[in-house]
């Protein structure tokens, strides 16, 4: 479950970072257009996360349950194993889909605040990039906590991935 959250949360954060940097290096666009494009991507990421996890987890759990039923020579549909095979894919799908969606919405928060007329210390697109980098760092810290390694080192590692992504975008799309 944690792995799904981190992997897909990372997907969401990097996608938003990529989109926002793309807008930054393009002809200036209206903030509402940027929000709509990013929201479209966020919702698509969420739906992709839900559906892909549900389909793959259901198949895996069904197969595992079938093997267990074969070994037990009995029907386990009404047992805790059968219930788990039905509910766990739903739960994983929910985590898998909500992680990129929630992280994307957090990254887009500065853009909404700006549209609502709330003054930000930095331009909204830069504020969104700062939020994205912060969330990517925190995902790394979370990974470090799971692995029991240095939190700072793990956070910096994921942050480096974001920096490399930004550099690649500037390199290939900045002209």
């Amino acid at each position: 479950m944690r792995r799904y959250f981190v992997v897909n949360g990372f997907d969401g954060a990097l996608t938003m970072l990529g989109l926002i940097i793309g807008f930054l290096i393009s002809v200036p666009a209206d903030l509402s257009v940027i929000i709509n494009v990013c929201m479209g991507a966020a919702i698509a990421l969420g739906m992709s996360g839900v559906s892909s996890a549900f389909v793959s987890e259901t198949a895996e759990r069904r197969r595992a349950l079938g093997e267990l039923e074969e070994a037990m020579i009995s029907d386990l549909q009404e047992s805790a194993h059968g219930a788990a095979a039905r509910w766990v894919p739903l739960l994983i799908a929910l985590v898998n889909g909500s992680a990129p969606l929630v992280i994307s919405l957090l990254i887009l928060l500065p853009l909404w605040l700006s549209i609502a007329g709330i003054a930000l210390p930095v331009p909204p697109l830069y504020a969104a990039i700062i939020v994205a980098l912060l969330l990517i760092f925190l995902l790394g810290v979370f990974l470090g906590r799971i692995a029991g390694i240095s939190l700072l080192r793990s956070g910096i590692q994921t942050l480096l991935v974001a920096v490399v992504t930004a550099a690649l975008i500037y390199l290939f799309a900045g002209f």
């Binding site: 093997e67 267990l68 070994a71 037990m72 020579i73 386990l76 009404e78 047992s79 805790a80 194993h81």
Partner: protein, 89 residues
């Protein structure tokens, strides 16, 4: 009234839940159940158990239902202890 005081069951279960969780779940069926679980054989996906349950009035149907809920399969009832008691009141 006849009360079941003790039973020994032969049960096949998946590896999960483990023996401790399995026996605890059975013990929770009654208020004074004593459960002794012995793993007799371990296969790739299953374990064969001998479960001895003692109590003042064992509810066999509830025990059997708990075993099924946990994915276990009751193979046989190997020993039974019952006692008749006069209803008071």
């Amino acid at each position: 009234m006849v009360f079941v005081k003790g039973i020994v069951l032969d049960v096949l279960k998946p590896h999960q839940p483990n023996a401790l969780e399995f026996s605890k779940a059975i013990a929770k069926v009654g208020v004074d159940y004593y459960v002794r679980l012995t793993v007799l054989e371990v296969d790739e996906n299953t374990e064969t158990l001998q479960i001895k349950i003692e109590g003042s009035a064992i509810d066999f149907e509830a025990v059997q239902s708990t075993i099924s809920d946990l994915g276990g399969s009751l193979h046989s009832i190997d020993e039974v202890e019952v006692q008749s008691e006069v209803d008071v009141g």
